[in-house]
Amino acid sequence: MFKRRLASLISDCDHHSLPNSAHGFSSPRSIPSTKSNMASISVIESLRQQIASCEVQLQHLRQQLAEAERQRQQQCEQERLRHTTTTDPLTHDMNYGIADDFRSEIFAVLSSVGDEQPASRRWPLDYSEYKRYGRQLIMPEIGLQGQLRLKNASVLIVGVGGLGCSAAAYLVGAGVGTVGLIDGDVVEESNLHRQILHSTARVGMTKVDSAMVSLSSLNPNVKLVPHYSRLTPESAISTILPYDLILDCTDTPDSRYLISDTCVLLGKPLVSASALRTDGQLMLLNSPPLPPGDSRGGPCYRCVFPKPPPPESVVSCGDGGILGPVVGVMGVLQALEVIKVLTRENQHSLAPPADAQGPQSTGQCAITSEPTPDPPSLLIFSAYANPMFRSIRLRTRKPKCATCSTHATITSEALNSGSLDYVQFCGTINRVDALSPSERISVDNYAKVRMEVNPFTGMEPSKDNHILVDVREKVQFELCSLDGSVNIPFSTVSSTPGLGANGAGSGTDGVEQNWVSKLRRPPEKPIFVVCRLGNDSQLTVRKMKELGLDCGGRRWIGDIKGGLRAWRESVDPEFPDY
């Protein structure tokens, strides 16, 4: 059966590769240069796709092979046992010579000892597992029982980015039995400096598939479960329900509230981490995961951060930047916290909260425990601070928490029906649209201002007949900028008080006043404002007018629509895309 499957896969691959090789490799010279350039791009693209799909197929085959080998091994073991036990005197006695009640007592004892292992197994772990996990098995914190708990556990990693990749690597390495992966994105080149499971060759592949390729080669014993779309309120309960513990590795406030709420409703402990620039945060939430209203349960995300940050203050890694090891260390700490929770001694199964027990319940119990000796805490990591780590003692559940208190208003019915709008709760940023069309110039027209020789006078295009203000932060300006532009970071602009406060731009800080007065001097020169994407530039134009730099309307001030991204797309494709 496997042979046949393999043969069909191979013929699939052949089939895919034939037409491409005919176009791309056999006659590249006969195609004019632009066409051949496009053709080679499409060849590269299609090769990438083929590699990606073959890698996925290969990974499936590996899983099937591992499965088949395991079955074969079990069969051998059973046969061996059957063979040896026929002459075993104990078997003879158990079958013929012992009173029924005594026999059932012995069986009860035996079966309670080895719940996790099939009766036929000689050792509770596979032979290869002793070797693979040996270094952690010999630690008292883990031991055989701890390893079995890991093996029987299932965790869900929501978000396979910087946090999710490093957390997943260590959890899969440690032998957690089942690991689910959720992400709706594909791998981008700008992910690779920190998202360690992905690779250059897998740019364009879904993050979930890319991670599965890495993880299954790291440890083929772990069952990986892919979820290819973002978690939504409607899908949250059914997605999270089968798992014992959840890792929040996402990157938006709304997903953090959604995941936390769902974990409280379903009685799942949650390990939540985040990272931006040089800072990170880590919390073990809802642990112990007691039902809402039970004050002995661990606090949830809403207990710690009841109000979401204003949307315009939310900065993504794409805008704010992120140092790879910062997000890596937070993901590793998440994995550590998960291992600690899963291998904890005193855990026992409690029924999950009644209202969470849907008909689809798999009967797996949430991992719960007596109120833990460790009080809940928030670990703050600041890479450039001393000390780098601070541990904040959190309070227990908030008496008026909307999710986990007796005053809870968030229910699984509301969640399932989609009536809870997390995006709205966290707010959305309206695209900045602060200016009228006459205050804006397209990149193409601005290029003419800069670059075209005047056909009548033969005058060189001038960078000096206007002022170009670039409001990106200094570090970005230093990466690349347009010739002749002046850098006035948006943070400086926005912290300059307007006219209302105490006169025109006369902040308490001399530097801020400086940029305003410098721009006043040649009052006949128009001011063009540019930024990365075209939002901050509009707000800056507003501010400049507020400060009276437009000389009561006699001087033109406007922004360059779409910023440097539009400049790269329409005018200068070599301008760096960072």
């Binding site: 945060q281 601070a385 904040i392």
Partner: protein
Amino acid sequence: MVSTKPAPGHFAILYFAAASTFTAKSTESLPAPVKARDLFAALEKRYPGIKEKVLNSCAVTVNLEYIDLDGDDAAQQDLVIEAGDEVAIIPPVSSG
């Protein structure tokens, strides 16, 4: 950022993430004592706009302990921040 002892009669305040961006500082000393309920107003005076844009969604700690300032009847509104205390302003970070 190096944690230093605040000047006499002052408490130390640490700004993390967005709070650090807004104030352009990671730490400073502020005059003590201050009632917890008046902390945000005192910061708003120094950094106009910070309450709305940053503080309202922040966790606040005094001597590494979370204090609940959410709502007027919150348990720790009357707590007094004394000289020598360490206060931290911790905005939620959501990226990853």
